[in-house]
Symmetry: C3
Subunit: 179 residues, 3 copies
């Protein structure tokens, strides 16, 4: 039982799932604290309004130096493939915003999900992906919101299956879903 | 501590709780994979619109053969009592739709919850019940939605107390609430 | 491994997190069942309409005797400091209603959160705080609701960090977030 007292080896692909303001981004960043080399933050958000701008600035301030940032509102798989190499550390924040961008751009969500999952299997460095759990409230009255949460749930399931480790973060604290 | 490495014995009554598109139905079906005999899918959904029809068809396609289906939009306790016997395997999908049907039919929810729980105690075969967790979002503005989530929360608590095993599914992965 | 079979020592500060009708209040009360002395229920709710009045009455009836009740819609830190002493047992139900009262009163939420957390560190008796997780649904269309769930998420994170034990309750069953 000695293993219970030791940290598990870092998974190559980790999914960090959580609610709004659950501390999931901070937890995801901390998972890459032990990386020797530079870390890359892959932002799927675009600063299109003041609310979003403030959130992006707050995230950027917390990460501090040691992080490089690239934006990938749509071309997530391409960015991951271009940036991942042995020893690299990538953080994608977050999959639900990426999904939202894909839907707005009229993309085929099932095909994009499949492309992302296929790409994850080929990455050689460490990758942490952050995603929102959005399916634990009342059924939304808005049909677009229902479609979004259906896609988000399927995307989370597909990435969770491809990941070596999955954690669910609530109130800043992780519960392990896949060890 | 050898038991940690062994699967637990199948509980007679299992509750599978989860959000929308969390993979809870697939997980519930997999719990009955080891059954030798025929399995019965007890559907509480009625195909009243195209969205619901598509969901029912997708679920049915995934289950494949080896499953028989009956509909029980309201008479759930009666159906369970009629179908359960030693060696049988029943899957109820899902309790939240049943609750929604009961509310629409003007039934007494507390009494129906009590009848269901009493019936669960008498079943001789294995039964897996699927239910949605709907209380983890913002308080709904709609009063009917607030009443629904109150009823759903109480129903989940009552069935969880009657069940031998309870799991919470997120992104297709189970967390054990009651081992 | 003997410790696995023993209940942990009661934490001085415990946060009980859960959804609507998840059984979090009953679980929080049960955590104080082993207290020898009188227990104090610190209600943040004000009975302003019939729905809220009914909820308060139901909670009060369940607790039964052995509990004293005080109301603290806004002055939570002051009430905790005034009432806590070695051997005392306080239950705060709930932080999300307190937050809602603070927002309505135009208070500075970050400052109030900080005051609460600082006060928790000074309490000498046992304190159980109940809070709602509200960030696991679809992004609310209403801007005030978005602000509320942002504040609630940050408040839960801050209190979880200050607490010795954190549990997440679903369907009446606790999952340990911080042991």
């Amino acid at each position: 039982m000695a293993g219970l007292d030791q940290a598990p080896p870092p998974a190559r692909i980790t999914l960090v799932l959580g609610g709004a303001r659950s501390g999931k981004s901070a937890h995801a960043e901390a998972l890459l604290d032990d990386c020797a080399g530079p870390r890359l933050y892959i932002a799927t958000a675009e600063a299109r309004d003041a609310e979003m701008e403030a959130r992006i600035a707050a995230h950027r301030a917390r990460r501090g130096p040691g992080w490089r940032t690239v934006e990938a509102p749509l071309a997530l798989a391409e960015t991951l493939e271009a940036e991942s190499r042995p020893g690299s550390a990538l953080l994608v924040d977050c999959l639900t915003l990426w999904l939202s961008n894909l839907m707005e751009a009229g993309r085929d969500i099932a095909a994009e999900t499949q492309r992302l999952v296929a790409c994850l299997g080929r990455l050689e460095g460490r990758t942490v992906l952050v995603s929102n759990e959005v399916g634990l409230g009342i059924v939304p009255e808005n049909a677009a919101a229902r479609t979004f949460r259906d896609h988000a749930g399927r995307l989370n399931q597909a990435v969770a299956q491809a990941a070596g480790r999955v954690v669910f973060v609530a109130a800043g604290l992780p519960m392990t879903l896949k060890p």
